[in-house]
């Protein structure tokens, strides 16, 4: 039973359902409903992150993940056994110097590469056990990808880029266009639906990429250095956008980065060095002063 108060006449309404208009004065209740829904979501998100209340549901689990490459005669160990648990709805940053294995880990979690040893579970399914078809399905529906170099398809407009994964998922064309417009609107590019990637700035291209990663409502968004090719201010905007999506829709975000701005929004930070987890920090435990950027308050 939820209680709502009419904004115009003060009437108290108690219901388990949805109230669109006040029964007494016919005032619009949509704003009130939305507000309470947002409050509920936030409360749920807080509860999920509270260790003392919940037993966590892990969306990504890796066990002894190893990956080695053969370079000439030598075998180079990029990952030397990573054990990592990522909670549903978490904003996780993977940090580490370049060459530490961030991107390799990212590729393994995303099913873009196969581990030499160990296993990676997403939603309790072992990625290594999937057939090519199931793997494609997983990439299409459960995981959204954001890259450092944006990786939009250059011959397609922003809208077509966003709707491409929906074509693969077999969505109807009307529904697809509508959802594509909605997503581009969400990232603030509602007026640039028919622009090609070359006609957009770096920040705008990355926004399109963010919209595309959300095309099939994935459970996880994987971001590989999403701010690496952007200037400070646009990078900050993209990070804020990601955080907003994380809070609003509860999507799990895993981002490989060495951008310190990310620390501010991450729930946990995993530090990787030489292919091993060095330490995992919780956001509350970090006392890092981040200054203002680019003269902006």
């Amino acid at each position: 039973m939820a209680k709502y108060v009419c904004p115009s006449c003060g009437e108290k309404i108690e219901t388990t359902g949805i109230v669109t208009v006040c029964p007494k004065c016919n005032a619009d209740m949509a704003g009130v409903m939305e507000q309470s829904a947002r409050a509920l979501r936030q409360k749920a998100a807080e509860l999920i992150k509270d260790d003392s209340v919940t037993t966590h549901e892990y969306i990504v689990r890796t066990r002894g993940l190893k990956r080695s490459y053969i370079m000439g005669e030598e075998e180079v160990q990029a990952l030397r056994g990573i054990d990592l648990d990522v909670r549903r709805g978490e904003y996780l940053s993977i940090m580490g110097p370049s060459g530490s294995g961030k991107s390799t880990l990212f590729n393994l979690i995303g099913g873009l590469d196969k581990p030499t040893a160990g296993s990676c579970y997403i939603n309790e399914t072992d990625m290594a056990q999937l057939s090519a078809h199931e793997l494609a399905w997983q990439r299409c529906r459960t995981i959204g990808y954001i890259f450092q170099t944006f990786n939009l398809i250059p011959v397609m407009t922003a809208l077509e880029n966003v709707t491409l994964p929906m074509i693969f998922a077999g969505m109807g064309s009307d529904e697809m266009l509508e959802r594509g417009r909605m997503l581009l609107d969400l990232v603030g590019l509602g007026g640039r639906l028919n622009h090609k990637p070359q006609e957009l700035s770096g920040g705008q291209q990355q926004r399109v990429a963010v919209a595309r990663s959300l095309a099939n409502s994935p459970a996880i968004v994987l971001a590989d250095e999403p701010t690496g090719n952007l200037d400070l201010q646009t990078g900050k905007e993209i990070i804020e956008l990601l955080k907003e999506l994380n809070v609003e829709s509860g999507v799990t975000i895993i981002s490989a980065t060495h951008d310190l701005k990310m620390i501010d929004v991450s729930d946990r930070i995993v530090h990787i060095r030489d292919g091993q987890v060095e330490r995992i920090e919780k956001r509350e435990e970090i006392d890092l002063e981040i200054g203002t950027m680019g003269g902006q308050p």
Partner: protein, 285 residues
């Protein structure tokens, strides 16, 4: 699982044509055959599978491929030039024979008209009949027949060689086009594209190039023959040419050009599709 694993590592070491690549093309075709069969046999049983279906409908695939051809006209032009030249040569050689037959016929008809006119000035209507009867008559002595056969054989050899060369040209141009687009291919795979989709996109693209290239080649070939005989014998010969078989030559040219483009694009398409997405994304051109 074992076999997929093998494919991956092999593709990493040597991303060229391999056995599982050919299997891929077969799969790409079979997928659609199976789908058609399912539609024909009532789709009721497919219902529980639908949730895990990934597909790329033909109209969408066609639209995407056409767009990338149009946007990379330079690259497509190089691939098409091979087809244009090959098919132009082919049509030239084949229609040359038709034209020379037409000229022969015209000459025979003219001779017979003259003879008939000399015999009886009152029977000019005999001319068209004589023309139709002409191929039945022994035309040339044996010696010229054998040199003609030799010439035909040499021309066939030339045609086959030129088509081979242009096929290799297309393969090369498509390989370049694939290499240029590794990142794009990797991205598509990340978005859930199956290997078969990538093969399909590249094959459609090359068919489009093949059809356009052969059409241009046919026009150029016919134009050359027309000009040659028009200047040599006067443009009135066109009336005596067997247009029916000329149209057949055009059709053959179109089919051969398109099939050639399709076949030459198979190895590059397989190479594109077999790239593991991580490797495709890493590559920088």
């Amino acid at each position: 699982m074992q076999s997929t694993r093998k494919c991956w590592s092999r593709a990493e070491l040597d991303p060229r044509l391999s056995a599982c690549g050919l299997r891929l093309v077969v799969k790409a075709v079979m997928m659609d055959v199976k789908k058609l069969a399912k539609v024909a046999g009532g789709g009721g049983q497919a219902a529980p599978q639908i949730q895990k279906q990934i597909n790329l409908p033909w109209p969408d695939a066609f639209r995407i491929s056409l767009r990338s051809v149009l946007l990379r006209l330079g690259r497509a032009g190089i691939a098409a030039t091979g087809i244009v030249l090959g098919v132009a040569f082919l049509t030239y050689v084949w229609s040359d024979r038709i034209f020379s037959d037409g000229v022969e016929k015209a000459r025979l008809a003219q001779e017979q008209t003259l003879a008939a006119a000399a015999e009886s000035v009152r029977k000019p209507a005999a001319a068209p009949e004589a023309e139709q009867g002409a191929p039945d008559q022994p035309v040339a002595p044996d010696a010229s027949q054998s040199t003609k056969a030799e010439k035909d054989a040499r021309q066939l050899w030339l045609v086959v060689m030129s088509l081979l060369v242009c096929g290799i040209g297309i393969t090369n141009a498509m390989l370049m086009s694939v290499t240029e687009r590794f990142q794009e291919i990797g991205t598509m795979k990340c978005l859930g594209a199956l290997d078969a989709f990538i093969v399909r996109l590249f094959l459609i693209e090359s068919v489009v190039i093949g059809v356009l290239g052969s059409a241009a080649g046919i026009i150029i070939g016919i134009l050359f023959v027309l000009l040659y005989y028009g200047i040599k014998e006067g443009f009135s010969v066109t009336a005596k040419v067997d247009w029916g078989s000329l149209v057949m030559v055009m059709l053959y040219g179109l089919v051969i050009g398109t099939v050639l483009a399709l076949l030459s694009a198979i190895p590059p398409a397989i190479r594109a599709a077999q790239m593991p997405p991580a490797a495709a994304l890493r590559s920088e051109i």
